[in-house]
């Protein structure tokens, strides 16, 4: 098929790199006069772990239930993003208070670090208790401090989206909002995108083999409605909006938290200069990303492809042109 040639990852990635400059991802994807880039800012410092985002997402997108099983990972029984989970709330029980908190809880007789050696990443079956992680500074034993972090994770809608780069069918595309979506009627289930994602977000559904992930509710946003998760979120932990505005808001929020003594507050995925060119869905975290199960320094997995394959890519493009001509001629 011509489209295999035309949409070959090498070609798309090569041209992408070649054209990459000041242009934004929507323009590069052929959306002239597009609206501003839209995205999510998830402020985990106000998340109450209610999981409304998970349910609202599933209700809107008609995603199947995917397992009724107790994990033992605190109140997280979803365990991670996947084909049937496009929003996932992580729960991290941690020995460190939020600023101003005085839990008065004394666990001086327990060596928690021994009991939950590997923190929240401990496989549930290996954990002796609800995994409890050390605070970022390595909370001193017996200080009696406790905090419970909650964070709603989602597809990052990367500026440089490896899933899109490697998709051979054109199923993965970028919208005029700069978001990345999978087209379920195009996806052939090849699965290239799965290992390409630096965050481990996109996933194949077991019964149909196709790839699924958050679309940032493209159907809703295309008529000016908020994505389902952001609309439901009781505390506005999930905010949807113009990415630039969200970045400004997030910077102010971090500054404010620092002023209140929450020194751990930091942004994740907001930086256009990071390994994926910045995320369309970024986060305010209260600890290192790996505590939440997020890669500390994600890099677009297709970064090195362009230089290697530029020539091949251009050749493929001219070949595709010939094939189109031939096909039109035959039809005519």
């Amino acid at each position: 098929m011509t489209r295999v040639f035309l949409d070959a990852p090498v070609l798309r990635t090569g041209l992408d790199r070649a054209l990459r400059g000041d242009a934004d991802p929507a323009t590069l994807s052929g959306h002239a006069d597009h609206p501003p880039r839209m995205g999510f800012f998830t402020d985990t410092s106000v998340c109450i772990g209610c999981k409304a985002c998970e349910v609202a997402c599933k209700e809107w997108n008609a995603i199947p239930e995917d397992g009724i099983a107790l994990t033992g990972m605190s109140y997280d029984n979803t365990a991670g993003l996947g084909a049937d989970t496009w929003r996932h709330v992580a729960f991290i029980e941690q020995r460190k208070p939020l600023a101003g908190q005085e839990p008065g809880v004394d666990h001086s007789s327990v060596n928690v670090l021994d009991m939950a050696a590997a923190g929240s990443g401990t496989a549930p079956q290996a954990a002796a208790m609800t995994p409890t992680t050390a605070g970022p500074d390595g909370a001193p034993a017996g200080t009696g401090d406790l905090r419970w972090l909650m964070a709603s994770d989602v597809c990052k809608h990367c500026t440089h989206a490896a899933c899109l780069d490697v998709c051979p069918t054109g199923s993965l595309v970028r919208t005029e909002f700069g978001t990345v979506i999978v087209q379920e009627d195009i996806c052939n289930g090849c699965g290239y995108c799965i290992p390409a994602c630096p965050y481990g977000v996109i996933d194949q559904r077991k019964d149909d083999g196709r790839a699924w992930k958050c679309t940032l509710c493209y159907d809703r946003t295309s008529v000016g409605q908020e994505p389902a998760c952001a609309k439901a979120c009781p505390t506005d932990s999930i905010q949807y909006g113009v990415l630039d505005e969200l970045r400004d808001r997030a910077a102010e929020r971090v500054e404010r938290l620092h002023g209140q003594g929450v020194a751990d507050a930091r942004l994740y995925g907001h930086d256009p200069d990071d390994g994926v060119g910045g995320d369309g869905a970024f986060f305010l975290l209260l600890d290192a990303p790996e505590v939440y199960g997020l890669p500390p320094d994600p890099v677009v997995t297709t970064r090195d492809l362009p230089d290697m394959w530029r020539h091949v890519g251009l050749a493929a493009l001219s070949l595709a042109g010939m094939v189109v001509g031939a096909l039109v001629g035959r039809r005519g």
């Binding site: 809107w60 054109g170 970028r174």
Partner: protein
């Protein structure tokens, strides 16, 4: 589909002739993607409602299409909830459209080992007979010499999940039948 349309709908054609030479965006859109419309935009009606779970009283918009509930989400106009919902509220469509809901009257006869079907009208007749019988059996004109004018023969439990109008009819009818054992969860 005419040939021109066919060709124009072909991603490669769009890719080569449009603004998306890389085929990473608009050119690669499928028919489904191009025609995507949210069901909230196509609903026949949006009905104003209130979440049936806890007592926060979140506003809900119920979207109806072809006589079926297609979506329920928060009502942004509500000063209490501002359009937001918790996981239960967000699952309300699943609640009302659930396959776990029973749609038919079921009857278990005394000492029976399984349910049997029963016609609703027949059930209502049978229930009315039984409530009158229990009322009569449990009737007290007096208790320890004082007039009480009541029945202890039947009781009712429930109401906190019901509408005010429903509670009103429960209280009005059962009290007038002489029942005093009328209760619900609201003991706070």
């Amino acid at each position: 589909m005419g040939l021109k349309t066919f060709i124009e709908s072909w991603p490669v054609y769009r890719q080569l002739t449009g603004d998306d030479p890389l085929g990473r965006g608009s050119a690669a859109y499928s028919a489904t993607t191009r025609n995507l419309v949210p069901r909230t935009a196509t609903a026949d009606r949006v009905v104003k409602s209130v979440c049936p779970y806890c007592a926060v009283g979140c506003g809900q918009n119920v979207y109806v299409q072809d006589g079926r509930v297609t979506q329920i989400e928060g009502d942004p106009d509500s000063p209490v909830s501002r359009g937001r919902l918790c996981p239960k509220g967000a699952a309300t469509k699943q609640l009302v459209t659930s396959s776990g809901r029973e749609h038919r009257v079921l009857y278990r006869r005394p000492h029976g080992t399984d349910w049997e079907p029963l016609d609703l009208d027949t059930a209502m007749e049978m229930i009315a007979e039984r409530v009158l019988r229990s009322r009569r059996q449990g009737w007290q004109d007096e208790d320890e010499g004082k007039k009480v004018n009541r029945t202890l023969g039947f009781a009712s439990l429930g109401g906190a999940t019901l509408d005010n109008e429903e509670n009103y009819l429960i209280k009005k009818l059962f009290t007038s039948m002489g029942a005093v054992q009328i209760e619900n969860q609201a003991r706070i």
